[in-house]
Every structure is written in C-alpha cells, then in structure tokens.
Assembly symmetry: C2
Homo-oligomer: 159 residues x 2
C-alpha cells in the first residue's frame, strides 16, 4: 500500500508549468528530462493530467503543455486524484456478509465507515496545499535554485 511515484512527478511537473508565461507551452520531452523520468511513460501521466483538466495540451510543432487552471486553484489533492484515480483506499470484500449470513448487501462491513472517515481526514490535508503555496515554499527554501529553474523554463518555453 504505497502511493504511486507518478504523483510526485506530476506535482513537480505542474510546479514547472506554473512558471510559464501566458500563452507559452513546454514540450513533454523537456519536462521529463528535467525530472529525470522515463520520457514515454511520463507522457502518459501528462495525459492523465490533461484528462483531469489540470493542464491543456497543444499538438503539432511548437506544441506542448501548459496549465489550465491558476496555480492557487490546483491542489495537491487534485493531482493525486488525477493520477491515482477516485477509488478509495479501503474496499471491503464483504467477508462479514458471508460470515453472518446477512441479507442486506450494502454496508455489511464494520470497517467501511471508519475507513471512509480516515480517508477523508487524509484527503483533507492534501486539499490544503496548492501549487501556489508549494511554489512559495520553494522560493523561500531554495531561492537561488528556484531562479535557476525559472531561467531554464524561459529557455525551453515555446511560443
């Protein structure tokens, strides 16, 4: 039971895209290189982010990706949801139904309620942080590094 590595990569990818000026895009290849990720697989992640309406894509020469929403409106939770999907962490196998021979199929698990509460509590934390706040932290913790990254984005940007 562990979160996919794709979530972390996606967060950083969006953090990079957030540095782009308006109307500019960044090719997926460039992002994957910067992240040191497998290029082809990383593009699959980007498409998930597109499906989730977090970023938009433009095909063709001078194409690439850019943010669809404002950084302050993209929560870590949204990225998590885009990559991991919406199925919950806990899924009862209905053992209790068989064991107690219960007719009522729904909610025949003693743990489901508790687990849903736990998951909500977990997700609530992920909903607090946004790309905007994450970027502020970056600038605060590593100001010169953030500058470097910004420069790299300016160099690689298209359009």
């Amino acid at each position: 039971m562990q979160m996919k590595t794709g979530v972390e990569q996606s967060v950083y990818a969006i953090l990079i895209l957030q540095m782009l000026p308006d109307k500019a895009v960044l090719p997926g290849e460039a992002i994957s290189q910067q992240l040191g990720a497998s290029s082809t697989y990383f593009q699959k992640l980007l498409r998930k982010l597109v499906s989730a309406d977090l970023i938009t894509s433009v095909p063709g020469v001078k194409g690439g990706f850019k943010l669809k929403k404002k950084p302050e409106n993209i929560r870590v939770y949204d990225i998590y949801l885009a990559i991991e999907g919406k199925q919950s962490l806990y899924c009862s196998s209905g053992v209790l139904c068989d064991m107690l021979a219960l007719e009522e199929v729904d909610q025949c698990c003693l743990l489901t309620g508790l687990m849903e509460e736990a998951e909500s509590s977990w997700k609530a934390v992920l909903k607090r942080e946004t790309i905007a706040t994450l970027y502020e932290k970056t600038k605060k913790d590593y100001p010169e590094k953030a500058e470097m990254l910004q420069a790299w984005v300016q160099e690689k940007k298209v359009l």
Copy 2:
C-alpha cells in the same frame, strides 16, 4: 494504492478470537473456514499477528490461537500495522534533489512533510477504534448474528 484484504480478514479473525473464554484457543483452520478465506494463506496472516504480539499461538494437538492483549487494547491501527507493515504511504523518490541539484539529501522533497501529516491524520482515526468497540457495534447492529457467532465459537473452541 489500496489496502490489503488481509487487514479486513485479520480484524474479523481477532473479533472472533475475542469471543473465546480464557485459556481456550481456536485452530487457524476453523477461523479461516468461518471467514471463507484461503486456509493456507490465512495462516500466514495469523503468524503476522503473532509476530505483532496481538495474538499467541500454541502448537500441537489441541493447539490454536488466542488473544494476547485485551480487546480494548487492540486498535484497528495495530492490526493494520501488523499486516501492512510500518512503511509510510508516501515515499519520495528524490526527484527534486536531482532537479535542483541539492546537496542536502534529507528532506529534499516538498511533499514529504505534507504527506506525513496526512498519514498521521489518517492513522489517528484508525487508532480510535478498538476490537472492544467494534464488538459492541456488532452486538448492537446484529444482536442475533453475534449470538450465533458466539455459539459457533463455543462449539469450536479447544481446551
């Protein structure tokens, strides 16, 4: 990213063992049958619970398993920990280190702090419920079924 089914089975197994009178044990085979689980694999789960000091085992004829702690001292969280292990839900791959060329290896991830907080919040909920409270809920929700289960335990118990 989904919890193992073994956690649910283990919770119900301990819920059954909790019904045993003192000094009595229940063979793993009987429990697995009641749960409708694969017998051989389920015994692996039981051994994990033994390692976690939640239950004790006695070998030999008339052997089996019984609780090691009192039901009110066994939290759902303890069972989760015994089965899933102690590694956290989120594990940074250190992408940010490479990307920003950071020397400081530890805590070079913008998400680790947030994720740890989220996980703590999640675990806190699992720590609230114990086998004792879970048993109370069962008796309250399905009083006659709990009675049936209790009768079955009396029939199957050893010693």
